[in-house]
Every structure is written in structure tokens, then in C-alpha cells.
């Protein structure tokens, strides 16, 4: 038995490893929610003979051990870092681009959905036209369409520019607003987040300006706003999926009309039955997902009433990209209704008719629109 010291060392190290692993299960307390992953973590499953026999107990137990493993965030970071070293261009559904850019790797699961959604909106617009309601559609580009040069080469990602042309050709009773040139001309400004899949409020500002031309309102100039950073340590959704050490933070910039011209707002959140006089959920800046400062994240429906002297009312059907844009629009309508079809199951047409709304705006990210299963609920 030569090499005795080596053998003893290996045995001791491995035993230490096993002991540490075992103790780590006991010592660290169970967490209920992971801010980093934005999901609830599995809790200790209850035992029953029935669950044992149908294998659900063992599966739940294994998930529980997996989810509650100590320093989970550290391990995920280590793995992502290793993948970057191995020159893999994507990890966990996120492209890791150059210059610290992350891009969402969205797989279009059903290529027919784009046509389905186009026809749903088309039908809606026909109905709207008959009822003297104007319909506008603002497709929002994803980060990769504007910052393509930082994407890994040859990625087979969904071509949003072609999709936009395809959509605007097929939709003829609805105004489709193209903000591509606006985004490109301002791309040297901070218009998209690097660690989150959304655009920034500054980015949506330029869309807001373009919308004014089509929706009959005069947009305010940038000098009419107070703008300031309310956070300089924001890590967004994409970072959460593929965290890396030494990744620079994003900052969150907020725009508010100067007090001398700012109207009064009353925001009513249906889901929580709460009201607010501000367009922003300031408390959410302390949460992990700081983007929820904008309209409090996902709501089935919320209503914004202002004291602006106009009879213009707006109904917005949207995904989360609208959240940064809506605070700008709120300055031009007496009432704005904001609906997210993922959570809203009532009839949109009935609601619009009942409340005498005369303008409808669809705001969707192009990639998400091409894969959205909820629009057809409209």
C-alpha cells in the first residue's frame, strides 16, 4: 500500500465533502421565495403512504433538497461563469453577448401564433372601426434587433424587422407604428437595459413621441420632465437566469412631468383593490425586480384617471413592455384602462363599449407577440 499519505488525504477530503454536504441540508434554514430566480421554492413535502407509492413524495423531496441547497445563487453563478469560459454563447435561455449585453433567447414554439394573433387584432380593429373607435398597434423591438452587433454570430433568432413588415402589410384597418428608426437613431443613449429584457423609460420616451403623431396628442418635450435615477444597482430578468460575477449594474431612470404642469393622477389596481396618486410604485425599488416600479408589475386590469380636461379615453392591451410607456401617455387622456390578457378574462369589447372608450392601443414586444397564446382571448 504505497502512497499512504495521498490515500489518506483523498479519503479525508471526500469525507469532509460528504459531511459538509450533509450538514448544509440541516444548517441552512429553508427559504420560501427566491428573489434572484423570481419564483417560490419547494418546501418540505408531507409524507403519506399514498404519495410514497405513486412516487410523488420522492420527487417532491428531491426537488425540495435541490431548491433549498445552500448558497444556490453562488452555484448558479459558478456554472454560468464556466459556460462563458467554455465559449458557450447562451445559458439558461439567455444569450451572453459582447460588451456585457444580455439578450433574451426566446424560442418561438408555435409558428402559427403570429398569424393567429394578427387576425385576432384585425378582427378587433374591424369591430372598433364600426363603433368609431380608433385602433393603434405599437410593436416594440427587442434589444437584439437594435443592438444586433453585440449578439453572438449566426444565432438563428427571430427576425423582428421582417416580422414587423409582415404584420404591417397584413393589418390594414389599424395604424401600425414603426419605431425602428427612432430606436436606431437614439441607440447611443440608454434606451434598453443590458441585464433585463425590457427597454428603459428613456427608450419608451422616443416611442411616446412617435405615437403622438398617430394618436392625436402633442407629446411633451424632454425638458418638460424631471428625470433622475432612482436605482443604480438593478439586475434584471436576464441576469437572474445567467448571473455572472463582475457584471455591471443597470440603472433605472424615472421621468416625471415638472410639478408646474403635472396633472393629478389616480391609479386603481383591480387585483389588490388599492389606489395610488402616483404613477410609480416607489416601494418596489427595494424588491429584486425593480422594473416593477413601473405600474407595479403584472396586473389583470388597472385604471388611471386624471384631471386633464379632455374626453379622450384610452384602452391599452399590452405586455410588460408598456409599463414604462404608460406614465407618458397618462398625461393626455382623462381615463386610461390597462389590461394584460394573461390575467384578464372578461370581454374586452364589452368593457370598451360600457365605458365609452374611443381609443385602443396595443403595445406588444414583437417576439412575445409572435408567441403569445392569450391574445386570442380578445
Amino acid at each position: 500500500m504505497k502512497n499512504k499519505i495521498f490515500n489518506i488525504t483523498i479519503c479525508c477530503l471526500f469525507s469532509l465533502f460528504l459531511i459538509l454536504l450533509f450538514l448544509s441540508n440541516i444548517i441552512t434554514p429553508d427559504r420560501k421565495f427566491s428573489e434572484t430566480e423570481n419564483r417560490y421554492l419547494k418546501q418540505k413535502p408531507t409524507f403519506s403512504v399514498k404519495k410514497l407509492l405513486d412516487s410523488s413524495f420522492t420527487k417532491d423531496f428531491e426537488s425540495y433538497i435541490q431548491d433549498q441547497f445552500f448558497e444556490r445563487d453562488f452555484w448558479v453563478k459558478l456554472k454560468t461563469e464556466t459556460e462563458v469560459i467554455l465559449n458557450k454563447h447562451d445559458s439558461n435561455g439567455v444569450y451572453i453577448g459582447s460588451n456585457n449585453w444580455y439578450f433574451e433567447k426566446k424560442d418561438i414554439t408555435n409558428s402559427k401564433l403570429l398569424d393567429t394573433n394578427i387576425s385576432t387584432i384585425s378582427q378587433f380593429a374591424s369591430w372598433a372601426e364600426k363603433n368609431n373607435i380608433s385602433t393603434t398597434f405599437l410593436p416594440v423591438y427587442s434589444t437584439y434587433s437594435i443592438y444586433n452587433e453585440y449578439m453572438p454570430a449566426n444565432s438563428d433568432i427571430f427576425d423582428e424587422v421582417s416580422a414587423f413588415n409582415y404584420m404591417s402589410n397584413k393589418l390594414d384597418n389599424i395604424t401600425v407604428v414603426d419605431i425602428y428608426d427612432d430606436m436606431i437613431s437614439h441607440k447611443n443613449e440608454y434606451i434598453y437595459f443590458k441585464t433585463d429584457h425590457h427597454w428603459t423609460q428613456l427608450g419608451s420616451f422616443y416611442a411616446y413621441h412617435k405615437l403622438g403623431q398617430y394618436m392625436n396628442f402633442k407629446p411633451y418635450d424632454i425638458k418638460d420632465f424631471d428625470n433622475y435615477y432612482i436605482s443604480d444597482d438593478f439586475y434584471g430578468t436576464l441576469y437572474s437566469k445567467a448571473p455572472l460575477w463582475n457584471m455591471p449594474y443597470d440603472k433605472i431612470e424615472i421621468f416625471e412631468l415638472k410639478n408646474s404642469i403635472k396633472p393629478q393622477y389616480n391609479v386603481y389596481y383591480n387585483d389588490t383593490s388599492t389606489q395610488d396618486t402616483s404613477l410609480y410604485k416607489w416601494d418596489n425599488i427595494n424588491k429584486k425586480d425593480k422594473y416593477t416600479v413601473f405600474l407595479g408589475g403584472n396586473n389583470s386590469i388597472l385604471t388611471i384617471k386624471t384631471n386633464i380636461d379632455t374626453d379622450k379615453k384610452l384602452f391599452i392591451i399590452k405586455d410588460s413592455f408598456a409599463h414604462v410607456l404608460i406614465p407618458f401617455l397618462a398625461n393626455h387622456y382623462s381615463e386610461i384602462y390597462v389590461v394584460d390578457l394573461r390575467y384578464y378574462n372578461e370581454s374586452v369589447k364589452n368593457y370598451i363599449s360600457k365605458n365609452g372608450i374611443n381609443n385602443v392601443l396595443y403595445i406588444y414586444n414583437i417576439c412575445w407577440f409572435a408567441d403569445d397564446k392569450n391574445i386570442i382571448k380578445n
Partner: protein, 468 residues
């Protein structure tokens, strides 16, 4: 339970090892047996009964066959009984739906399938218990007197789920009388870590590439995509399976057992015959000992030999899965082996190593196409893609992207498939034992840390050979 899971590594293994080494020698086998039953029941709470049944049945058969040592007819009777019971179990759970499907197809019926789920490891443990009764019959070993010891052999968790297929005679002595020591334990640790890394860091990783390509509609695949895909599968199945075998062997050593090696750098082979001496060695050994030799082995006429080889290889294929593509895969290799044995070998000898290697790898990769496509139609279309038949593009964006993303991983895989690293380590060992030891310790620690990282973030941790 899977070795590459946190439940196994952080709970089952530490607790089992601790209890095993605390208890006195006399009940070590009992502890191992109970732990193995718990391990198996964890994944198969109901079917654990079948494994216990198989254990009891063959334990009794072993004793009875030995009892009738001078009564050839009775001896034979009980041997047949054991084989029939084991094959019936295997046949019923694994092949009944396959049989029903074929009957439906041939006679145009619609008999309802049983839709039984396959008890994990049944292909392995039935083969192991049969090796016992057959070797007792052949008087190669004495029957095991202690049912706990025998149960320990059958259920032993290291090799129960995915091999190696350990013949009873291999560990009969160690079962009754073994001495664990630091040397064997540390050897086991290093082999275990090597196997874990192969599975988690290599196989799971490259498996994602295969999965990406396999999930695309087959008509749209470019030639480069098809090649990337099948090369990914070629690596995945090797590192997955050999990784699991290594873990089994490593764990066996930790408990004082020496299991036989199951893989010997198969992708370095220079002929298909050589490949099958390096791939899943315990399976080929089993089929040779218990099917080929009883059929006559090398002592029969050329025609009969060819016939026997074809039978054995078709059976080998079918063992891998209850589907015709597996039978064809087995037969495919049977035919190549016959051609090599009787015709090609003398020509192959004269060729350079590189050409022999290319010839071998090409045939193996084509084999994997047959293996991985249950739908033979798709398999053939895929084969066409490899050779730019009926293919729209040779390259496309997607395949270039994947190649770029995986190029470093692929290089690591290619090097790891050869004995380059083990040769380097051996060279270092000869020059300086100390440096060698430091390197091994560093590698082990880094590997463990990385493995935990990948296991914790596992969105993808399949195990290919679980269909057995």
C-alpha cells in the same frame, strides 16, 4: 435515485457510508442490502417487490441446483426453471407491448397495450441472477448459503440500475469475505469523481446539443446540423454510460468490492471487433458466456458460427430496447463483425491507423443513428442528411452558431475519449509522485465543486440507459 443528484450525494451516500463503517463486519452485508433496497424503492416503491421476488427465487434455485449435483435431469430442470422465470419477468415487463404491437401490425388487430412502466434496472438484475444460477449449474461456484449475502449481490445499489453486469463468480469471494482498506477506498473515490464528472460535466452538456438538434423538424436539418447532432449523441451516450459505470465501480470499491471495468476507451478502436471489446464489456462478456458458448461457441462449423453470431447480436440489440431499430442495430453490428472476422481483418491490418480509425468511427456513428431513431423512417432520412442526400443546405446559421458555441466542449470531449490524459498523468507519476498526487487532489476538488454547481443548476439531468 440517481447518483448525480443532491439527494444521493448529500444524504444517501454519507449516511450509508457512515453506518456501514460503524457497524461490525458481520452485519455489513445486511446494511448494504437494506440500503440498496431503500435506494431502489426510492425510485420504484412498487416494483421493488419484483426485485425481491427475483432474489428469493434464484436464491432457492441456486441451492436446489447444487443439491442435485449428481442428478443431471433434475439439475437441468431447475436451471430451466430459473431461466424461464427470469426471462418471463423481463419479457413481460419490457417486451409485452412490443409483442402486442407486432401482433396488431401483422394480424391487423387492435389488442390494447398494457402500458406497464419498466421496473428500473430489470435488464441488469435479471441478467445477474441468471449468471448465478447458470454458474452454479456449471459448478463454477458454490451456491450462496446466506440469503442476505445473496440479496446484497442482487440489489447492490452501485451496479443495480445501470451496470456493470457483475457475474456472481466475480465477487463471490468478496461477498463472503472482504477487507476494506484506505487504498481501495481512495481509489474508489477518484474513480467515482471521474465518473460523476463524465456524466454531469460532459454527457449532460453535450446532450443538450443533441436535444436541440433532435427536437427540430428533421426535414429542415442541414448536413452540418445532422453531423453536430449525431456526434453529440455519440459523446453523450459514451460519457453518460461510462460515467455511470465508473461511479458504480468507484462506489463498489468504497464498500470493498472490485467490479470489472466496463469501458476501455472504445472510441480509440481500430475495428468494429475491437470496439466491441472496449464498449459495455460486461454485456458482451455475458452474452458470450451464457449465449454464444452454449450455442457452440467457436467449436462449430463456419455456417453455424455465422448463424450464432447473428442471433447473439440481434439479442444484444433487442436487450437495449423493445423496438425494431434496436434489433436492427444489433444485427447491423453482427453482420459487420462477421465480415471483419472472415474477410476484412486481413486487409485492415495493412491499412494505416488513421484510416482504420475513420472506418471504425464512421460505422459506429451510423450505428448510433439506428440506435437513436426508433422511427426507422426518420433514421434513414437522418442518415441521408449526413451524406447530403435530400438535404437543402450543407451549412446553415443555426448549425454554425451551435458549432461555435460547442467547439471548446467538443475538443475537450474528443481528448477525453482518448487515453491522452491518463497517459499524461502516468508520465507525471513516474517523474514525480508528489506532483502527480497534488494534481489529482486539485482535480478532484475542482471537479467536485464544478459538479455541484452543475447539479444545482440542473435544468437538464436525464439518464439515457434508464430504459433498462
Amino acid at each position: 435515485m440517481v447518483f448525480s443528484s443532491l439527494t444521493f450525494l448529500s444524504i444517501f451516500l454519507p449516511v450509508t457510508l457512515a453506518i456501514y463503517y460503524i457497524v461490525p463486519n458481520t452485519i455489513k452485508n445486511l446494511i448494504l442490502f437494506i440500503a440498496s433496497l431503500l435506494f431502489y424503492a426510492w425510485g420504484e416503491p412498487v416494483y421493488v417487490i419484483i426485485m425481491i421476488f427475483s432474489t428469493i427465487v434464484d436464491f432457492i434455485h441456486g441451492k436446489v441446483i447444487a443439491y442435485y449435483y449428481n442428478n443431471p435431469n433434475k439439475k437441468r430442470l431447475f436451471l430451466m426453471s430459473s431461466i424461464i422465470i427470469n426471462l418471463s419477468l423481463l419479457g413481460f415487463f419490457k417486451y409485452s407491448d412490443f409483442l402486442i404491437q407486432n401482433i396488431n401490425d401483422i394480424f391487423d388487430l387492435s389488442i390494447k397495450k398494457l402500458n406497464l412502466s419498466l421496473p428500473i434496472g430489470i435488464s441488469f438484475y435479471t441478467f445477474q441472477t441468471m449468471s448465478y444460477t447458470i454458474d452454479v449449474y456449471r459448478e463454477k461456484c458454490k451456491p450462496q448459503k446466506n440469503i442476505i449475502n445473496f440479496g446484497c449481490y442482487v440489489a447492490m445499489f452501485p451496479q443495480l440500475i445501470a451496470g456493470p453486469i457483475v457475474r456472481y463468480i466475480t465477487i463471490a469471494e468478496e461477498l463472503n469475505n472482504r477487507k476494506e482498506n484506505i487504498y481501495k477506498f481512495s481509489e474508489g473515490i477518484v474513480i467515482f469523481i471521474k465518473g460523476l464528472s463524465k456524466k454531469v460535466l460532459l454527457a449532460n452538456n453535450i446532450g443538450m446539443l443533441w436535444d436541440t438538434i433532435y427536437s427540430k423538424p428533421i426535414q429542415n436539418l442541414s448536413t452540418l446540423s445532422a453531423w453536430l447532432g449525431i456526434i453529440a449523441f455519440t459523446f453523450q451516450i459514451y460519457f453518460d454510460f461510462s460515467g455511470y459505470s465508473d461511479m458504480a465501480i468507484g462506489l463498489g470499491k468504497m464498500f470493498g468490492f472490485d467490479f470489472p471495468n466496463n469501458f476501455n476507451f472504445p472510441y480509440m478502436s481500430q475495428s468494429v471487433s475491437e470496439f466491441w471489446r472496449r464498449w459495455h464489456i460486461t454485456l458482451s462478456t455475458w452474452f458470450r458466456e451464457y449465449v454464444y458458448i452454449p450455442l457452440g461457441g467457436n467449436k462449430v462449423s463456419k455456417i453455424k458460427k455465422i448463424y450464432n453470431i447473428l442471433i447473439v447480436w440481434t439479442l444484444t440489440g433487442i436487450w437495449h430496447g423493445a423496438s425494431w431499430n434496436f434489433a436492427i442495430w444489433g444485427l447491423y453490428f453482427g453482420i459487420i463483425l462477421i465480415i471483419e472476422k472472415f474477410i476484412l481483418n486481413k486487409y485492415l491490418e495493412k491499412l494505416s491507423s488513421v484510416i482504420k480509425w475513420i472506418y471504425t468511427m464512421l460505422l459506429i456513428i451510423i450505428g448510433w443513428v439506428l440506435f437513436s431513431f426508433e422511427n426507422l423512417n426518420n433514421g434513414i432520412i437522418f442518415l441521408g442528411k449526413l451524406f447530403y442526400i435530400n438535404t437543402v443546405e450543407f451549412l446553415d446559421n443555426n448549425s454554425l452558431y451551435l458549432l461555435s458555441s460547442y467547439k471548446i466542449i467538443l475538443i475537450i470531449l474528443i481528448l477525453s475519449s482518448t487515453n491522452l490524459f491518463s497517459n499524461i498523468l502516468h508520465y507525471i507519476f513516474v517523474k514525480s509522485k508528489l506532483i502527480h498526487n497534488i494534481i489529482i487532489i486539485t482535480l478532484c476538488i475542482s471537479a467536485l465543486v464544478l459538479n455541484i454547481a452543475y447539479i444545482v443548476d440542473a435544468s437538464y439531468n436525464p439518464f439515457l440507459y434508464f430504459r433498462f
